[in-house]
């Protein structure tokens, strides 16, 4: 085969001086820069590129752009960089491009799956629903086979090495579509000084101007491409304009937020892709005004055997001819219902093809067209229909019959040979984005299609997107739309004068739409496709309606029409028409299915943008982080924070490290990085009143220099957060919150101050990270503090528990709190975070004589459990009141109202048999309970389910200090069960007997109770 036998001698946006080599389906081909895979394959006379979803029938190239329903291939065989379901009409070729046929086995041309076609009678719409029910499990037996057969291409097998990015942009006017209408709109708005973004989904500006015969059409004395270039150049010269090609507007969201998807380097060989640029970008555009100039989509004709490769939209055939310099067929039969297809026929004829005939459903054809046809020597068949086609993997001919008055066909059958069947059912405005923006559609009887009606957002449609089909009209309307948009955006503008148009084709006129073109065959023998991708035929849709799925939405879902990767761009209108016909209802009453984002499929990775991998979610670290890292810390995520969990020495197990750390915190001294705790500076004369209202306990008498533990509830009475708050001055407090609760608590407090108690004079400012905090625990902790700090006597006899003071370390101010979360003697040193790392070094140095150990969150959890302190979020789960924690002492009865108070006296919250926090000691001290395990009342687990559960283990540790395992649990009526024997169930073992105890294990040990 000669290389590119269908390549025309000249014309098109391709560079004939360079040859590009690529592979498809295991065979080598060549094309030129500027070619899409589709145009290059057609240049090589390859029409068949895929097989149908269901019946595996041969599928060819049907459109020339994003509207193509079926010409899908897999790009690339590299496991990490392979792209399934790529439309050959959109993929540009590059040297070394490899494309594979998908959903075929063993090969595209010989595919075993094609036997499905023989059984097509048994695979009607919805057949899955009617079969495989059988006895239980039957579907599960069939499902794996169905699943394997389903799906099109294959997902990559390895992580994606490419980069993606999203960018925010604001503009006055966003123009979607770079055809004549869009160009005039952009030019007008830009010249008025508006900030303009023009997005065009293909590689070049110009739209359908690139698909017309440049020898025939002139704009302002320029060939169409020259005119487009001149406008492009003008736009490029203005810095208030951004022109984006290979960029589709894919989603129109609320308030003129429009997503654009730019394929930055998909058209380049991997080695040629600029290393500094992402593979794809999402532009998140907020536009004051939008012009939708997205053109029109050509409509297929629905006739018997309309699915063979070589059957192509007439407009697409012209696009291949002029935009890409490829003649998609040598002997072309045209099947039409409107004037524009006649133009296509003349065009193809003068471009070197032989037109074997024009078959038109209409009987009355415009005289001008008839005489032009005669000039070209084209035989015409008005008032006739194609009733069948032939050809195995490429159309080889069609049969034609005259339409009868009764809507059927009659008379002799004429067979016409062809290698390309160009079809046109008229043009449909591309209303996808308009609909996404929630604009209302109107059904246009002349057009037999929907077009934009009432706008909802700040947009307007122009050109063929607004059903204006003549070039002059498109240019003018584009200019007007640009002027209107700019003006509404606050930049007064006047429509630019469009170029004078010469030689433009005639618009389509009024197409004669017949939902299903008669073929004179028995109904059950007709196979006319509506949706070429999902293999939906007219029979399927009619069956759906007959079976009662008569809402268009039901019909869609039952047949899956319009549910493929093209979302029915060319199929939907025909489906609506057919369903309306079957229901004998006007189309507007049947309506449309919903146009949803995206306009065309957008990669997940582009949506994710740069916010993946390293940048997926922040890791918050404290000022001491480096020290932790270089001292054997293993970390755990706590909210957004990384916290040191334990510091493992070489050769030491995690468990051993935790024991060592916790023992140090009890027996000598250990230090915890507590910087992550939330901190809020609260100031104002009503600060006390405020604290009284947000905590359960009383704050009126807390003196400056003192601190107090507080519990915060939601209005539902459930524990929400806790922490220590210190009084700095009568009107000034320093509140701490849990690490995870910091932001939530501040918002909660601001909410009350700003919206509820607006009379209170209180200001709050977060100081969480102003302070780095080292928490020292253990009998020697005061000695370390004494060593470190000047201006304070930390002797526990003198520096009272729950008090605080300022001091200095080497002259640097610190605030020292004597508070304890471990039950041991403990101090917290707060220092400005810039000094945090230094403080930590100082602490370690000063503590060395006492054998100071850093301790992590795991030891911290253990230590507080030894003392019976709760962790909000571990002991609590949003269903726990202070009483449930048996912390009634913290709920003030004397003071007035506080958040959540009233909820504590609801009939359910006052129940005495609620779950309450208790300690659990296993009878076998070496056994450790599983956190989350449930407490039951019987020594053996009843076989019958459900097994009544009394509660669950919230915390469980192996405590070196207590010398055994300890646990806490929420247990029904727990407080009344002290000393009781209960059992903790476990999977696959006998329940573990436990004794219910108080939670302060340290005290119990002191008292000899453990």
């Amino acid at each position: 085969m000669t290389a590119q036998p269908n390549r025309r001698a000249s014309g098109g946006l391709i560079d004939r001086s360079k040859v590009v080599r690529f592979r498809f389906d295991g065979r080598d081909f060549s094309g030129h820069p500027g070619d899409t895979l589709a145009s290059a394959l057609l240049a090589n006379d390859e029409h068949m590129v895929a097989r149908g979803f269901k019946y595996h029938r041969p599928r060819g190239i049907f459109g020339a752009g994003s509207e193509d329903p079926t010409a899908l291939v897999q790009i690339g065989s590299d496991a990490a960089r392979t792209d399934p379901n790529t439309r050959v009409t959109e993929q540009e070729i590059y040297d070394g491009l490899e494309a594979l046929a998908q959903n075929v086995w063993p090969s595209l041309k010989f595919d075993v799956g094609a036997v499905n076609d023989l059984f097509s009678a048994f695979l009607p719409a919805g057949f899955y629903y009617k079969t495989f029910m059988g006895p239980l499990g039957n579907w599960m037996a069939f499902e794996p086979f169905i699943r394997k057969a389903a799906g099109l291409g294959k997902a990559p097998g390895a992580p994606d090495p490419d980069r993606y990015e999203s960018i925010n942009r604001h503009c006055d006017v966003l123009v979607a579509g770079g055809g004549p209408a869009g160009l005039m709109a952009a030019l007008t708005a830009a010249k008025a000084g508006a900030r303009v973004i023009l997005a065009e989904e293909t590689a070049a500006l110009g739209g359908r101007l690139l698909s017309v015969d440049p020898d025939k059409v002139n704009l302002g004395d320029m060939a169409p491409t020259a005119w487009v270039e001149s406008i492009a150049a003008e736009l490029a010269g203005m810095d208030n304009v951004t022109v984006l090609t290979r960029t589709a507007a894919f989603g129109y969201y609320a308030q003129n937020f429009v997503g654009l998807w730019e394929r930055v380097s998909d058209h380049l060989a991997p080695n040629d892709q600029p290393a500094n640029l992402p593979r794809q970008r999402v532009w998140r555009v907020r536009a004051r005004e939008v012009v939708l100039a997205t053109g029109a989509v050509e409509r297929p004709l629905v006739f018997h055997e309309n699915d063979r490769p070589g059957i192509m939209l007439a407009g697409a055939a012209r696009t291949f001819t002029h935009r890409y310099g490829v003649l998609p067929g040598k002997r072309v039969l045209v099947f039409a219902n409107n004037d524009s297809a006649w133009e296509a026929a003349f065009d193809l004829q003068s471009s070197g093809a032989r037109v074997a005939g024009i078959v038109d459903l209409r009987r009355d054809i415009d005289g001008g067209l008839l005489s032009t046809a005669a000039e070209h020597g084209i035989s015409i068949h008005p008032g006739a229909a194609i009733v069948g086609t032939s050809g195995a993997q490429r159309v080889s001919g069609a049969t034609v019959r005259r339409m009868s008055d009764s809507g059927g066909v009659e008379g002799p059958v004429t067979a016409i040979e062809c290698d390309l069947l160009a079809v046109s059912g008229g043009w449909m405005p591309n209303i996808a984005l308009f609909s996404q923006s929630r604009g209302k559609l109107v059904y246009d009887e002349d057009l037999s299609a929907f077009r934009p009606g009432q706008s909802w957002q700040k947009e307007r449609s122009a050109g063929s997107a607004a059903a204006t089909f003549d070039l002059d009209g498109c240019l003018k309307e584009g200019a007007r739309a640009g002027a209107d948009a700019a003006s509404k955006a606050g930049i007064p503008a006047k429509a630019e004068r469009p170029p004078k148009v010469e030689g433009a084709e005639r618009p389509q006129g009024t197409p004669r739409v017949i939902p299903e073109i008669p073929s004179g065959r028995p109904r059950h023998k007709v196979r006319a496709w509506i949706d070429l991708q999902d293999d939906v035929t007219t029979k399927d849709l009619k069956l759906a309606v007959n079976e009662g799925y008569d809402s268009i939405e039901h019909a869609k879902r039952y047949t899956t029409s319009g549910m493929g990767t093209d979302q029915g761009k060319v199929a939907n209108m025909n489906a609506f028409a057919l369903v309306a016909d079957a229901l004998k209802k006007p189309i507007w009453q049947v309506g449309t299915t919903t146009y949803r984002q995206p306009w065309k499929p957008v990669t997940f990775a582009a949506m994710a943008g740069q916010h993946v991998g390293d940048h997926f979610h922040p890791r918050r670290v404290t000022p001491m982080h480096d020290w932790h890292k270089s001292n054997g810390a293993v970390f755990e995520p706590v909210g957004d924070w990384l916290r040191a969990r334990a510091y493992q020495r070489p050769g030491e197990s995690f468990e051993a490290a935790v024991r060592r750390e916790s023992l140090a915190a009890r027996e000598s001294v250990a230090a915890l990085d507590a910087s992550t705790l939330g901190k809020i500076d609260i100031r104002g004369k009503d600060a006390r009143t405020f604290l009284n209202r947000v905590y359960t306990n009383a704050w009126s008498k807390l003196a400056p220099g003192k601190a107090r533990y507080g519990l915060m509830l939601g209005e539902d009475g459930m524990v929400m957060d806790d922490g220590v708050t210190a009084c700095l001055a009568d009107d000034h407090f320093h509140m701490t919150t849990t690490t995870g609760g910091a932001a939530r608590v501040l918002t909660h407090l601001e909410d009350y101050i700003q919206t509820e108690w607006t009379d209170l004079e209180v200001y709050m400012t977060t100081v969480t990270e102003e302070w780095a905090v080292a928490s020292l625990s253990g009998p020697d902790s005061w000695r370390v503090v004494a060593e470190l700090c000047d201006g304070i006597d930390p002797d526990p006899e003198k520096f009272e528990f729950m008090s605080h003071t300022t001091a200095t370390i080497d002259g640097v101010p610190v605030r020292v709190f004597r508070i304890s979360f471990t039950g041991a003697l403990a101090y917290e040193i707060n220092i400005a975070a810039d000094y945090g790392a230094w403080l930590w070094d100082k602490v370690m140095e000063a503590g060395q004589p006492y054998g100071i150990q850093p301790y992590g969150t795991e030891a911290m959890h253990l230590l507080r459990a030894e003392k019976g302190f709760v962790i909000v979020g571990q002991e609590t789960d949003g269903t726990v009141t202070p009483a449930d924690l048996r912390m009634d002492w913290i709920v003030s009865k004397a003071k007035g109202d506080f958040i959540g108070k009233r909820s504590l006296s609801r009939s359910d919250t006052v129940r005495t048999d609620r779950k309450q926090l208790v300690g659990l000691l296993t009878e076998d001290p070496t056994l450790m309970l599983e956190e989350g395990a449930h407490v039951i009342a019987t020594a053996t687990e009843p076989a019958e389910k459900p097994v009544p559960m009394l509660g669950h283990v919230t915390s469980s540790y192996d405590s070196p200090t207590i010398g055994r395992s300890i646990a806490m649990a929420m247990v029904e009526s727990g407080g009344a069960r002290m000393g009781e024997r209960l059992w903790v169930s476990r999977k696959g073992g006998t329940p573990i007997p436990v004794k219910v105890t108080e939670t302060d294990f340290l005290k119990m040990r002191e008292d000899g109770d453990v």
Binding site: A254, N256, D716, E756, D897, K901
Partner: protein
């Protein structure tokens, strides 16, 4: 994403804000005197109209102020923003044609996609 005009900072993307639920729900000062039912009304029950709704937002990433907004929840049309404590301004909006907001005929839930021939454009 909505475009929200913070009464203090001006117009910003929704991502800077957090929704804070229904507006004008006053916290009862006399909680202790209320029945469980009346108290539950304050804690849990909310208006959830399809149509005009007064709600609170907070400019989380900006000025951290709470403010009120009137929005039509049937269309997401934002009609007004106003300060906490202020009365909702008078606004006009197209209320849903039927309780659920959809025309009684039409092709589905998101109906009224298609204009009827007699409808003015």
């Amino acid at each position: 994403m909505f475009l929200i005009t913070c009464p203090y900072c001006g117009t910003r993307d929704q991502s800077e804000f957090s929704n804070a639920g229904e507006a004008h729900v006053a916290r009862p000062a006399n909680g202790e005197e209320l029945t469980d039912e009346q108290w539950a009304d304050f804690v849990f029950l909310r208006n959830n109209p399809k149509g005009l709704f007064a709600e609170r937002w907070v400019h989380t990433a900006g000025c951290r102020r709470f403010f009120n907004m009137l929005r039509n929840t049937a269309t997401d049309e934002i009609l007004a923003v106003y300060e906490i404590g202020a009365k909702p301004p008078k606004v006009t909006t197209v209320e849903p044609a039927t309780p659920s907001g959809e025309a009684p005929i039409g092709s589905g839930n998101d109906a009224v996609k298609v204009m009827r021939p007699e409808e003015p454009k």
